[in-house]
Subunit: 313 residues, 2 copies
């Protein structure tokens, strides 16, 4: 007899199994939570885009302790391999459209499948808000960056433009003034940052502040070499890079749980959302530090909390 | 002219520099915070025992995402190497005796040196908890041990009792079953360890599990030869050694900051202790999950919070 099976891969997520936990999102938070949950003996599924998530889009990672220097793809691969070494069922390149609560949770996916689980962990991360100007996409990773903490050291003894006027932008400017030769802060309106930070910024000799000025285009030749601006300063500004610090957009639209004004999911001390049985971890939550090691830790902690929740059901 | 210098090593902690941050402790929390702080442009020192901390004493690590399987020593080495790639000044095999607050913080060390810093991060971790039974102290190093990796080989082809029911105890039992002739796991209640580990333990032919059983006394004649038990098993059990794996006591005695009943340091959302300018992170704090990835994350977050604190000074 022939054995026809659409899910011959032992690690493939099945719509016929009721899982203890399905994790939505396969970035550092999702994969780390899967590892911890599987080691606790829970049946675990993951529905995600690409294993490793945003880590794949990072040129290099130098602040995840243990990996002195690794490409984003290399670290994402190490994370994926680690998760695959355990019995974790995955559906990659799949997005969850909505979560319905019945006796169990039903996750409706864009592959026309419905998956079932006793608990759900939302770990879909967030994406950086973009300026939406010509050259921004083209020069991403070639001078354009969205992460001061990750890529700040790249601007050592160079000139850098920071786009933004909130706390993150001003803090990034203060930090980068210690590393770079010259820092421009370009913001379309007035500062929204805390006064104490703005006051400090104005005292820094190698920082120039351009308010009511908009970046119109990012220019370069292989790498960023200048920006075109309009407004208070209308012209061309030479720079080695552009750090865009204008906030994040959490990937939380599909989830009908309580969020803050920015769309970040609100969780309690046990990583539980406003709906009992639905948990969240990592960049999609109100956790202020959007870092790989933090997401991995939050995922691990959420898995331990979910295990305790299931033991108590 | 000869150049006499006591601190010829560029990475050696100096008592002549006023650091932005001195970290007390060089485990995962301490080293991760040092990496983040140095990358922020802060001048950073570490005073610690052994880089990698307790990770060194662990036989293998399988849940730190990115490292599918690594020895404790291997992971500690990777952490150390990562920190050493940055300009971080270290004093190894040194303990801090007390912290005094003047214009700046003064850290009095047991090497007769006093180091100075604008901020302090306490990341001293925790140490093994003792059973507190007669014979435990007497036979320490004569059959009683708290370190499976260090002393495991001593029990080659012998009989050993492991006290405890958490992950460390069960992992130690699995490791020792490969070396020893006979392993007893004695625990006063039920297992708290991961199911995956407990299942594995029950499959091992030379492991005997005694739950709801307490060790009353450790007996011997020069070396351990038996234990006296009470509970489910009430009697005398012949053994060549006792490996105690029942948790940890935080290394917080030297620090005059607010703590909970267990001696764990209480911190706020910004990792600040009850003394402004003194921060804490990792196993020494009230953080409930004593995991490597959690400590690394807490260290990173503390460093970012400290950077913000310094920016606001």
């Amino acid at each position: 007899m022939f054995n026809f099976s659409l899910s011959s891969n032992k690690n493939q997520l099945s719509n016929e199994i009721l899982y203890d936990l399905i994790i939505v999102g396969s970035g550092p938070a999702g994969l780390s939570s899967a590892i911890y949950a599987a080691r606790k003996g829970l049946s675990v599924g993951i529905i995600g885009d690409k294993p490793g998530g945003q880590v794949n889009d990072t040129s290099s990672v130098e602040n995840y302790i243990g990996f002195e220097f690794v490409t984003g793809e290399g670290l994402a691969e190490a994370f994926k391999k680690h998760a695959e070494s355990l019995e974790i069922h995955m559906a990659n390149d799949v997005l969850v459209k909505s979560i319905e609560k019945d006796d169990v949770f039903k996750l409706i996916a864009n592959n026309y499948m419905t998956y079932q689980s006793k608990t759900v962990l939302i770990a879909t991360g967030s994406k950086s808000r973009q300026l939406g100007v010509p050259g921004e996409k083209e020069f991403y990773g070639k001078g354009v960056t969205y992460c001061a903490i990750c890529d700040g050291p790249l601007f050592k003894e160079k000139t850098v433009v920071i786009a933004g006027g909130g706390n993150s932008a001003v803090e990034a400017a203060i930090d980068l003034s210690k590393i770079a030769n010259k820092v421009y802060v370009v913001h379309r309106s007035e500062f929204r940052a805390d006064k104490i930070l703005v006051d400090k910024l104005y005292q820094l000799p190698n920082v120039e502040i351009l308010l009511k000025t908009q970046i119109k285009e990012i220019l370069g030749d292989g790498l960023v070499n200048s920006i075109q601006t309009t407004g208070e300063l209308d012209g061309n500004l030479l720079t080695d890079g552009v750090l865009v610090e204008i906030g994040y957009v959490p990937n939380s639209q599909f989830a009908d749980v309580e969020k803050n004004q920015r769309g970040e999911i609100i969780i309690d001390d046990h990583h539980m959302t406003s709906i009992s049985g639905i948990f969240a971890a990592g960049d999609v939550t109100t956790e202020p530090y959007k870092q790989i090691v933090v997401a991995a830790s939050e995922g691990a902690k959420a898995a331990l909390a979910i295990n305790e929740y299931i033991n108590n059901l």
